[in-house]
């Protein structure tokens, strides 16, 4: 059995606009997709299921639209989905999100939990670690290879570190955060989409999970977003003039030193 946490994020090609409050983005007309790192996690969970049997459950926190991403995972082959959909959980920080996910997972039978190593939207990389901490299980982060032992009691994983590979072994259950390179996620097939329609997708509120709503939402954030600013406008390039390569090199050195002040 494995659980996979997924987050819905804006498609990386979406043009992001900052909302008038200066602290969030305009959410209308954004194309939402499953966080690409989570997709590696879903794919790995499915491969393990294909080898060992069992079930894959997708767990997510967010508004109704997140069911689209859960359905994508179901269409890829996951068995069921749980969405924690509660207006009081809107704008929760990573810790609160992890509490909600853990509340769903703790009552399930599980051997492995996958999440992306980070979300491509706010790049926090905290949810996976926090879920593992709350559940009191080992956390294996930024993983590019997963090998479950034949008897299904432990897992050997690889993490790239500065040109080397770190191999780690851990007993199960454990939580793995997926890094690019772990696998090539499969496409959702049309038959998969049709089958996904019939798979269970449960929605739960914080109260259903026995959670205190006051610990969630914008007000309860331990990390507060003060300001969002767009990246600086790219300056126009500069073409170095000069008759000879020597002249050009001298001019380049001068510009880098005096104008760009980088050397």
């Amino acid at each position: 059995m494995s659980a996979s946490g997924v987050k819905q994020v804006p498609d990386t090609e979406t043009q992001i606009r900052i909302a008038p409050d200066g602290q969030s983005i305009v959410k209308d007309d954004i194309k939402w997709v499953m966080n690409p790192y989570d997709e590696f996690g879903v794919e790995e969970a499915l491969r393990i299921k294909e080898k060992f049997g069992g079930e894959v459950t997708i767990v997510s926190l967010g508004p109704k639209r997140v069911t689209e991403s859960i359905r994508t995972a179901l269409a890829m082959g996951a068995d069921k989905g749980v969405l924690i959909n509660d207006p009081s959980a809107e704008d929760s920080d990573a810790l609160a999100t992890a509490r909600a996910l853990a509340a769903v997972i703790k009552d399930m039978e599980y051997d492995l939990i996958f999440t992306g190593q980070r979300g491509v939207d706010d790049d926090m990389g905290l949810v996976g670690a926090s879920v593992a901490e709350i559940l009191g299980i080992p956390q294996l982060s930024v993983i590019t290879k997963v090998e479950v032992s034949e008897d299904g009691t432990s897992v050997k994983v690889e993490r790239p570190v500065e040109g080397q590979t770190l191999t780690i072994e851990s007993p199960l259950p454990a939580l793995i955060t997926a890094q690019k390179g772990l696998n090539e996620p499969r496409y959702a097939s049309l038959p998969g989409i049709m089958k996904a329609k019939k798979k269970p997708l449960e929605e739960k509120t914080l109260a259903d999970l026995g959670l205190d709503a006051s610990q969630f939402g914008k007000e309860a954030r331990k990390l507060k977003v003060l300001e969002l600013t767009p990246p600086p406008q790219r300056q126009a390039g500069k073409i170095i003039d000069g008759e000879t390569p020597e002249e050009k090199a001298a001019e380049l050195a001068r510009v880098l030193h005096e104008e760009a002040k980088v050397i």
């Binding site: 043009q15 689209e68 994508t72 959702a188 097939s189 049309l190 038959p191 989409i193």
Partner: protein, 596 residues
């Protein structure tokens, strides 16, 4: 699914004047399943096709074959095929959505896929016997078999039902001997099954299923085409090919039913593909216009570029509204049909036949929209657009064929009007009554003088007047020429153009109204402005065409006297067209793509 309760019959949009927006299917009505299918097809194209576009555009039949098989494994080739033959058995809306996605992102691989799933599969899917379906459909659906459509001959292009290819029954009555040549056949470089046509006993036009590896079938070299370089196009030669009688498709002498119905669906699909390519060209044009700076600022800030962006958007909006409205009509005609049963093929053909006018209109409007948009895209790029390696250069060449195949746009214009004439002759349409009623109403019609911001009343009443003008000129032409109207091709062309403009105006108007009454009425803002721009131009065009037809019908049954009336009724309300266009362009530039 959400389709019309009160279904409008084929071609009846011209004569019914109180079509309710609730009865019209629009892209805003897509179900979650439609959206999932859209993103699944998109993911496949982005991951497998777009990333290999250079290799594909060099023409690599082995790669095409592999990619087709991959598409088949994901169920993409089986959208229109019943489940019992390995297909997905999805609706025609899903079919249009998938074609659109290919048009957007798959370059010339689009045609490899489109031709296979359209005219390269539909003949047997619609008209095959159970035996034939069992033999060929699972393979065609999974991509293990590739289908081709062999209709065109060197001497039989638009006159396709008059081939020189012959089929002679053997003495023992077990097979036909096929002799002849077919040309410009898409996917011929690697197809397995050919749906081809020949005359039996010199007169009976008949469809056959031929397998490419049979003795006597030979394939020519690849054609060196202007565009669509990544798709295989070759000629076939049939030299005493023995075709078992079990491989006659449909009845002997009824091959036209097979060919024309397959082409109907083909036209529907070409229309969707064109909308997808137009959206892509539009996206590239905006992207470039935002980044290209001249006179110290991005060119998208200049009025003449904004005008182009707005005009492109309006046409795409119209084409898209017409396309999905038609898909909804066909789907509603199929309500209650068991799509898993063997009669579903024939029922689908009947539905397509009923909406033949709409399918042809979509093909014409879609391909002309695409051509218009790629041309303007190239213009936005300026000199860079003319250079190989930039999107417009390829898009421009690839687009051109869509006005030619699946019936040239000229043939499709004839189809549109002749079908209406045939239905009038059968009494399905009461031409006299429509003409009388139209005239009565036109005589008391007063066009609105002022346009009201945020409302479409003036446009709605003008649409009624445009329909009445059509009833009048069609009625007059029908009586003046009778059966000989078929020979007056220029008049037919103009009548067809009026029909097309009416379908465009009505489809955009109904979609905008549906959005206005929807959950998020603010989403109607751009569609309302685009509808107004379209009406501003289309009403002028309808007036000009109607007057030209009336001018032509001189002599004894002179129709000139109606010219002042037409001039008086088809008048747009006062509105600031430049500011409307700037608003539409502004909205699109902000989104960076076609988005409403």
């Amino acid at each position: 699914m959400n389709v019309n309760q009160r279904r409008l019959g084929g071609g009846m949009f011209l004569f019914v004047d109180d079509v309710n927006f609730e009865d019209v299917f629009t892209p805003e009505d897509f179900s979650s399943e439609h959206k999932d299918i859209a993103s699944a097809v998109e993911e496949f194209i982005n991951g497998e096709i777009a990333s290999r576009s250079e290799e594909i555009e060099e023409l690599n039949n082995a790669l095409s074959r592999k990619l087709m098989q991959k598409a088949g494994e994901l169920g993409i080739l089986g959208i229109d095929i019943p489940e019992k033959y390995g297909g997905m058995q999805l609706d025609k809306i899903s079919s249009a959505i998938a074609s659109e996605k290919f048009g957007f992102g798959a370059g010339s691989f689009t045609i490899t896929e489109l031709n296979h799933t359209g005219i390269g599969t539909l003949p047997v899917a619609l008209f095959g016997t159970e035996e034939q379906k069992r033999k060929y459909l699972p393979g065609l659906s999974s991509g293990k078999l590739i289908g081709a459509f062999g209709l065109t001959e060197p001497e039989a292009g638009s006159d396709a039902l008059n081939p020189l290819t012959t089929a002679t029954l053997s003495e023992d009555g077990k097979y036909y001997v096929l002799n002849g040549n077919k040309q410009f056949i898409t996917n011929a470089g690697f197809a397995d099954v050919i749906f081809t046509y020949a005359k039996v006993e010199g007169k009976l036009f008949t469809a056959f299923i031929v397998e490419q590896n049979w003795e006597g079938v030979s394939v020519d070299e690849e054609e060196d085409k202007m565009g669509m370089h990544g798709t295989s196009t070759r000629a076939y030669h049939f030299d005493n090919v023995k075709v078992p009688v079990e491989n006659v498709l449909g009845e002997v002498g009824k091959g036209h039913i097979v060919a024309l119905n397959a082409l109907n669906m083909g036209r529907f699909k070409v229309g969707s593909v064109c909308i997808g390519s137009a959206k892509r060209a539009f996206f590239e044009a905006i992207k470039y216009a935002k980044q290209r700076r001249q006179f110290g600022r991005p060119i998208c800030e200049f009025g003449l570029i904004k005008e182009k962006i707005s005009e492109m958007a309006v046409r795409i909006y119209a084409a898209e509204s017409m396309m999905y409205r038609t898909a909804g009509l066909i789907e509603s005609r199929l309500q209650g049909v068991d799509m898993g049963s063997d009669e579903s093929g024939i029922r689908t053909a009947e539905a397509l036949e009923e909406y033949l006018i709409e399918c042809s209109i979509n093909k014409v409007y879609g391909s002309e929209t695409e051509d218009y948009v790629v041309d303007e895209e190239l213009q936005v790029f300026g000199g860079y657009g003319y250079i190989r390696g930039n999107h417009p250069e390829l898009a421009y060449r690839n687009a051109r064929i869509n006005r030619i195949w699946e019936g040239t746009n000229e043939i499709n214009r004839l189809v549109v009007v002749n079908t209406l004439g045939r239905r009038a002759a059968k009494g399905i349409i009461d031409v006299d009554r429509a003409q009388r009623k139209g005239l009565e109403r036109l005589e008391v019609f007063k066009p609105e003088e002022t346009d009201i911001p945020g409302r479409l009343d003036a446009q709605e009443s003008l649409l009624g007047a445009a329909k009445d003008v059509f009833s009048l000129v069609f009625g007059l032409a029908y009586r003046r020429y009778g059966r000989a109207l078929r020979r007056e091709q220029e008049i037919i062309g103009m009548l067809a153009d009026i029909m097309i403009e009416i379908y465009a105006m009505e489809s955009t108007l109904l979609r905008a109204k549906k959005l206005m009454s929807g959950k998020r009425p603010e989403k109607a803002y751009l569609p309302v402005q685009m509808t107004k721009i379209l009406f501003y131009e289309s009403i002028e065009k309808v007036g000009f065409l109607a007057r030209s037809i009336l001018e032509t019908m001189q002599g004894e049954m002179s129709a000139r006297k109606y010219i002042p009336l037409v001039r008086h009724v088809l008048v747009s309300p006062n509105l600031n067209i430049v500011s409307l266009r700037r608003e539409v362009a502004g909205g699109m530039i902000q989104s960076g793509r076609y988005l409403i």
